[in-house]
């Protein structure tokens, strides 16, 4: 049995994510070097793309989609405030204002606590990426007299990167900072990066859903209109493994 046979045999297990942790790490390392396995894994994932729908759907709680959208957009839901305010008004009419205040404070504290719990979970997730990072890439960025940097923590288990961009001034008018994945088959557009010299931008990014292995990343300045699937603007940073 050749060494490569093990990878061939375990492609389904890798797609199912039933490999043990160390095995999974070994397989990921192999994928970076093996075009055949990368291609076959991508093909298997495509063939089984709808397998997750073998589980029956669970209807979300009423209002959950809107609440999720609000959370993602970082915009509080109207109802989140309307309900306590409406409740407070009704209770005021019943002349039990003090009771209302107590409830409102409790609701507010519970809400704050829930928000902090979610924040903590997010930070723990971020920390796990940093702790498990297999490689760390860094590059210096100079833009309009500002010196900053790009730092990437590559986490191989969940296939995510934690990316920090710091020291960038606001993008020139009509332009955005664009983050790209560099793959063996070309550049793949990722997220836009906010420019703020005082506040670093932190991003957790999954690997691009392309078959080609990711070799690195780049940051460019791109126009807001007439965007291209390939970078055209000036390259600010460029890192490869």
């Amino acid at each position: 049995m050749k060494a490569h046979d093990w990878y061939v045999e375990n492609r389904p297990a890798f797609v199912a994510r039933s490999l043990e942790r160390a095995e999974e790490r070994t397989f990921i390392d192999h994928l970076v070097r093996c075009e055949e396995c990368t291609r076959e894994v991508a093909r298997l994932e495509r063939d089984l793309a709808w397998l997750p729908m073998g589980v029956a759907p669970v209807a979300p709680a009423p209002g959950l989609p809107r609440r999720m959208a609000s959370r993602i957009l970082d915009r509080p839901s109207r109802w989140r405030y309307a309900i306590p305010y409406g409740l407070a008004a009704a209770m005021a009419l019943l002349a039990i204002g003090l009771s209302v205040r107590g409830r409102a404070e409790r609701a507010s504290m519970e809400s704050q606590l829930a928000t902090r719990d979610q924040r903590l979970a997010a930070l723990q997730d971020t920390l796990s990426i940093v702790q498990r990072a297999q490689q760390i890439l860094q590059a210096k960025i100079s833009m309009n007299g500002h010196d900053g940097g790009l730092v990437i923590f590559q986490e191989p288990v969940s296939h995510r990167w934690y990316v920090v961009v710091h020291g960038l001034p606001p993008a020139p008018t009509g332009n955005v900072y664009q983050f790209w994945f560099i793959t063996t088959s070309g550049m793949v557009r990722s997220v836009e990066v906010r420019g703020d010299p005082e506040r670093p931008a932190f991003m957790t990014l999954p690997m691009p859903p392309v078959a080609a292995p990711v070799m690195g990343a780049a940051l460019t300045v791109e126009p807001v209109v007439n965007r291209s699937t390939e970078p055209r603007g000036p390259m600010l940073a460029h890192v490869t493994f």
Partner: protein, 216 residues
Amino acid sequence: MPGHPPSPEPRGGPPSEGHRSGSGLALRGEASLRRRLLARDEQALVELIELASPWMLGLVQSILSDSDEAEEVVLEAFTAAWNAVGSLGDEHETLLPWLFRIARNRAIDRLRRHKRTRLKLARAEAMGALETTRVAPPEVNEAAQPGWHVHQSVHAALAGLPPEQGETVQLAYFHGLTHSEIAQRLGIPMGTVKTRLRLAFDKLRVALAPIKDWVP
């Protein structure tokens, strides 16, 4: 989560207007939805969540056996997708499978990160969640549920597997167990687990071929 494949009836009210489309999903033209998401159309995000969240919740709950955690993971997955939709390839990848993969990976990461596997197994076993008795598809009128016909196709493909292979797929894919955990649970060698999974996937590739290129 009873039976194999897990098929509880959807909870809650009827799907929103955006979901009604007769035979398929109402979001006609995935390219259109993608363009709107890329243009940061917030309504498109809401539509995507309404469309995909029932399936994602079902999948993630199956893995985590916890509805609250499932909601958190699904929210994380949508957040990641909203931030990275620009990186979604347009040739071979469609939105829903991409979202499913993100959600499933995150659910499994969470399951393993917190070293909860043993606890979950015990809990799930106590609740009968890992009961592997095969059951018939539920006799409910789910025609209005977006993607229901895809679910039925996948359900039929899973039901067509030999029992021991279906059981292995269920434990690995829908409950997030590793080879060693499956081997321990079923009392079989790890090599047998791998073989069953490989044979099952070969059969599923054939059985799911007619819907492989389906686009909502």
